[in-house]
């Protein structure tokens, strides 16, 4: 098994909703479950029809935070492999922004680890969305005013 069990990527082009590593993970001895999450650009927003979003990130830190999210997930659940890919730049409506996949022995750990990674990513990974609507771009606000507690 030469497939890397932990992998992060910042992608600047179209991102498939299918994680190619999942098929390899299924062959690992202890793996009984995989979960793959995709987040994509919603066509409909509160303000109207979204054309696209534009994603800025903090090069270097973004990869670092994504790697740390996988390490955190590994330390909290018995997951044995994981991958996070996050797009940057211009992403048309309907396309994948982020894809998170994990593999574990049992289904609950896979679900919990993937959900945890997404929650933590949303509050700690340095990506910022600008939404394109009616030919105008505006920054997307974070869902609430509370700042996340940074990890110790």
């Amino acid at each position: 098994m030469t497939q890397e069990p932990w992998r992060v990527e910042i992608a600047d082009k179209t991102l498939s909703p299918y994680c190619p590593a999942v098929e390899a993970w299924q062959a690992l001895a202890g793996v009984g479950a995989t979960v793959t999450f995709t987040g994509q650009v919603r066509r409909a927003s509160a303000l109207g029809d979204v054309d696209a979003i534009d994603l800025e990130h903090y090069p270097g830190m973004s990869e670092r935070v994504l790697r740390q999210l996988l390490r955190d997930a590994e330390s909290r659940w018995h997951i044995v492999a994981g991958e996070i890919v996050h797009r940057i730049g211009y992403v048309p409506a309907g396309e994948t922004i982020v894809r998170v996949s994990v593999a574990s022995a049992h289904r609950r750990e896979a679900f919990d680890a993937a959900a945890y990674v997404m929650d933590a990513l949303k509050t700690s990974a340095p990506f910022w969305k600008r939404e394109w609507l009616n030919g105008q771009a505006h920054w997307v606000d974070a869902p609430n005013a509370h700042l996340p507690k940074p990890r110790a």
């Binding site: 987040g39 994603l55 800025e56 990130h57 903090y58 270097g60 830190m61 670092r64 935070v65 996050h86 922004i97 982020v98 997404m118 990513l121 949303k122 509050t123 700690s124 990974a125 340095p126 990506f127 910022w128 969305k129 920054w139 997307v140 606000d141 974070a142 005013a145 700042l147 996340p148 507690k149 940074p150 990890r151």
Partner: protein, 90 residues
Amino acid sequence: MAPRITVRYFARFREKLGLSEEVIELRPDMQTVNTLRADLALRGDTWAALVGPEASAVMVALNQNLLNVSGEVELNDHDEVAFFPPVTGG
């Protein structure tokens, strides 16, 4: 030579401040993240509102690690400090 740090600004902050990155010489009275923020706030209202010590909707990273914004963290030569609004990825 005085210690120098790199300060970076992202997203809405970068746009409003008209700046993405600068190198700052650390004076003897600017040895922590909080004193750096106090110094930046002196540049004007926009700076004070976005990155000053009273700013609330700001995230701060030191050497690419998120900081507890209330922390009193020491700065060293070659450190990289970043200010940005709450993240909205994923």
